[in-house]
Symmetry: C2
Subunit: 610 residues, 2 copies
């Protein structure tokens, strides 16, 4: 079984040394409308420590057994794998769901970023488990923003404590990305309620035995709703009805018809839910459901971006342990361990290439997330305060990061997980070491919460072209240049890194202009360039984050403490710029290639139907 330790030292480096979370939290505190204790460094540290212990001791050991046993479905009920109920009870007892929600409903009123950082730890230990409380977060945020106060009073304390859980029900058999095709219908009953009928599929955590109730947030159409996405409303459909005090009542007519047999995340139940005139409560305004659903979508998607880092981290820890202990052949530059039958894998340059690729992805990706979730804190602060202008500004800023992080980091998470297998050789392909599970679990991340293709259209089509005419890129590249400029004339490694970052910033602007220009007359050019533009953006943004880390590490090295840690940051940054960032060139050229290279082929020429 692969070992697991929460990378607290790396997390603290980003929080305290790179992104100055203490000041960020201090600035947030006075206006924190969730109204909890201030997130002092001591409190934050205590939370991280306690979460790490829970992850290492309780969740991580259930990761492999959860995969092998999987969820069992029997007559509408789902049994989670052995140990999950107990682990979830400890989750509730520890108050781990309460961190970032308002104290008025039983939360601790801490910043949302803390919840996301906690979620990285839980997800690295056991992603399938993390999805049970994880799905609740979207449900809670939606209710906090749109539900009538009576529902908030009855529902939220249960959801926030974790005694109940929640889901988001969007996908139907005929539609996933294209929600305009939603067919589920809700009919008013005359008493202010609705009856909801339809089938939802791919509902993560849609049925399970961890909580006494499950609150489904469901997209459906009212009888008089316009066609398309403008006729979709949002409903709350509980598994068990409840009264004003949150006491459970009748079983509602929403039933789990089956759970999917999936490539991975076997321990999380992906449910087919049949709603058969189920009792439903309208949330928010009629026909504005999609808008409501997307209110906190940016933060939710960052929650999925984190999955890329989780699997990369876990896979790196496993691969590194194996590379240290497994001995194979002698180093090309001469025997390194004469007392051993052969040299450890870690002596071989190509094994180092794989490990450093994983390390650069994990630590570079984590930095991207830690930068973005600070914006999340501002977005949530504004939302709870009802400051619409501040919310919109923050959300727009976050909206630039979201598709890049979600698309790019989940793609790289899959790569890192696959490299972890590769380091193990044939031993990576068998269940025994747990490495192949990481790839199977990671593979979902580029699909749900909007595929990479959807993220890319959101980034290039909506965020870059439609909403900002490229301004969002220019804002970021200005920051890149500001960071790099003071170091451009240096003759050492950091000078080289700074020049590369500066140059990529310029190139990113230029690519953006080119694509903006082309999209004026050629709409297909957006989709033709989008994924390569997203991947390009990801590599360049990660370069910026590595330069940030390298500059901090360089300074810290002069203090003389923890030299190995800081030197590793510098060396990983150098590796990233030398060996991974060049991939941006391939994406640049592909993004610039003509639309015709994709569109000229007629349907028939793709090949005869088989």
């Amino acid at each position: 079984m692969i070992p697991f330790k929460v990378p607290l030292r790396d997390m603290r480096f980003l929080m305290n040394e790179v992104f100055d979370y203490p000041s960020h939290y201090a600035a947030l505190a006075p206006q924190n409308p969730a109204d909890g204790e201030p997130a002092t460094p001591e409190l934050v540290d205590a939370i991280l420590e306690a979460a790490a212990t829970y992850c290492e001791e309780v969740l991580a050991p259930l990761n492999v057994s959860g995969d092998r046993e999987g969820c069992q479905f029997h007559q509408g009920e789902v049994r989670t794998p052995t140990g999950f109920k107990e682990a979830y009870a400890q989750f509730v007892e520890g108050g781990w769901q309460t961190l970032a929600f308002p104290t008025a409903y039983g939360g601790q009123g801490l910043p949302m970023s803390l919840n996301l950082l906690k979620s990285e730890m839980l997800g690295t230990a056991n992603w399938a488990f993390n999805m049970y409380p994880g799905l609740s977060v979207g449900c809670i945020n939606t209710l906090l923003q749109y539900a009538p106060e009576s529902i908030k009073q009855s529902c939220l304390p249960k959801l926030i404590s974790g005694v109940w859980s929640g889901t988001m029900c969007l996908t139907e058999p005929q539609c996933g990305s294209d929600l305009s095709q939603v067919r589920t219908r809700a009919v008013p009953t005359g008493d202010g309620h609705y009856t909801l009928t339809g089938t939802k599929i791919f509902i993560s955590s849609g049925e399970h035995d961890l909580t006494e109730n499950i609150i489904h947030i469901v997209l459906a159409r009212l009888p008089d709703a316009p066609a398309g996405t403008r006729g979709i409303s949002l409903f709350l459909v509980p598994k068990f009805q409840f009264d004003a005090q949150g006491q459970l009542g009748a079983r509602n007519s929403v039933h789990c018809a089956s759970i999917e047999h999936k490539m991975g995340i076997h321990a999380n139940a992906t449910a087919v839910l049949n709603f058969d005139a189920a009792h439903a409560i309208l949330i928010g305004e009629p026909n504005k459901g999609l808008e409501a659903m997307f209110t906190f979508m940016n933060t939710a998607r960052i929650g999925t971006a984190i999955q890329g880092i989780c699997h990369a981290e876990r896979s790196y820890q496993g691969a590194l342990a194996y590379a240290r202990e497994r001995r194979s052949m002698r180093s090309l530059s001469g025997t390194k361990e004469p007392d051993q039958v052969a040299d450890a894998l870690l002596w071989h340059p190509d094994v180092r290439r794989m490990l450093l690729t994983q390390k650069a992805i994990v630590e570079g990706g984590r930095a991207m997330v830690y930068a973005a979730v600070q914006i999340s804190d501002r977005v949530f602060g504004a939302a709870w305060r009802g400051d619409h202008a501040a919310y919109r500004a923050g959300d727009a800023e976050l909206g630039f990061y979201t598709p890049i992080l979600k698309g790019f980091l989940t793609e790289l998470g899959v790569e890192a997980a696959s490299l972890g297998i590769q380091v193990y050789g044939g031993h990576g392909y068998i269940q025994e070491h747990g490495m192949e599970q990481i790839l199977r679990d990671a593979r979902i991340a580029t699909l749900y919460e909007g595929t990479t293709g959807i993220q890319a259209l959101d980034l290039l089509g909506r965020k870059v072209i439609l909403s900002t005419r490229g301004q969002c890129v220019r804002d970021f590249t200005s920051r890149m240049r500001r960071l790099a400029t003071p170091h451009l004339l240096r003759t050492d490694t950091l000078g080289r890194l700074a020049r590369a970052a500066w140059w990529r910033a310029w190139q990113w602007d230029r690519l953006t202009w080119r694509l903006l220009w082309r999209a004026r007359k050629d709409r297909d050019s957006i989709g033709a360039a989008s994924v390569d533009f997203l991947m390009y953006s990801g590599y360049v943004m990660m370069a910026h984050c590595w330069l940030q880390q390298a500059l901090v590490a360089e300074k810290a090295l002069t203090q003389g403490q923890d030299a190995d840690f800081y030197r590793a940051k510098l060396e990983t940054a150098e590796f990233y710029f030398s060996r991974l960032l060049p991939r941006a060139d391939a994406h640049l050229l592909a993004a610039r290639a003509s639309t015709q290279t994709l569109m000229q082929m007629s349907e028939a020429r793709f090949g005869a139907p088989s």
Copy 2:
């Protein structure tokens, strides 16, 4: 379930139009020592047609059920999935194992390439099944070359008919790539036989219920053997002993201790074999086992390279069918199917990008294989004739292709399989459509028969630097230039492709010189550049193959027939050069990066042991 059709039109295009197999086979025939009928175009075509029918009707339908049921292990016996025994009986009855082996032992004496092309069809239909007869091929070839005539007489007719099967037993728990650590021991009994003791793992097709006997070819050490790879001998260890007529005798003491639980290829049994003073026969000379084992390694590895194409083809067929039938959103450039609720996925540029990536990989990769296996024919011809000089020359030529094809095509096969999932969105992640199985099955291919890292060291360290000082690259790049030069001044698309190919040929030479130079003083630089050099070589070699196909297609278009087919070739070539070949740049830069970027990090700086 995903549909499946053997791509006969594509195969014939390569055989008859691009690589002129009719002439190649005609030139081979007079000296064909396997002494069968000449491989006339009519005979070849009849074989391809019959194999296609068998694959589509018998093997393909067992692919998904075989994965779900898997192999069952019980008290040393392995039960293959339902239907495999019957399908294998049909395989034997059809004489499918006999194609390329000498008539003297019951073969048909046809060229080895035909066997490899047949193996692509079988593998695309059902890779796990294909591995049962596939592993026999290495065993048969080894015996043909090294076994005493009495063993050939008793053993080979059974193996060649397929009534028996064979394995290759190299890996042990403590060693895979590093065979110098082999511990299995063979002790002479005094009567010319040996007793062999040890444990072998990861033995594909190592135990099953398809054949009445299994012949294991086993690496082991004699009592007085020198340490390391120079002390390894080759033994034949039968599951059941046999007499001179091939009649079965006593059960030998080789037993299957368990089979592995793997990520994929569930229908192929990966056995742990315990040899407990098993009756063994020495094959070839003492202590020269590794040499014997590697005699046909190049061809065997091309057999694994084909796996990349198999999965890419199957995944492409599945993804294309889905992209034609699934409807989601409207095309960015305006509604394309007004009568439908939404436009088919195939209208969306990014879906086309994914499909064309798969198509370019499959058809470009297949062309690489079809070029290489012609050399295989010459190698085998020379080997059976006993013409050592011709064998060595042919094997050296093939040896340049082998690591590139094995490393590059299996890596791209994994990518193509993953893209097939991506086209399906969430539906790709569930078992139902069979797309996730393709990725799970494909993932093994970069690991066995030498990992990508091992292939890369073989290519750069052995083939390019040690054996030829770069001459093998220069030979290939001269061919590239000869093909491209006449078209350099053209102003159309093909001119652009020709110039790109010409330029890459020059760049490949230059990169090779640079790495040769660097390796003189820095041995680690070989391992540091190797995988990027291999991937770079793969992309450039594939570009050459696409230019070849494009030039043939252009000429054929002037004949006016089958225009869609040839236009598709041209358009896929253009796609490849515009959108995939740029990746070569990233590998070029990474291959040129300093060794220090990998080697400077101390062991401790990789991170604390967790």
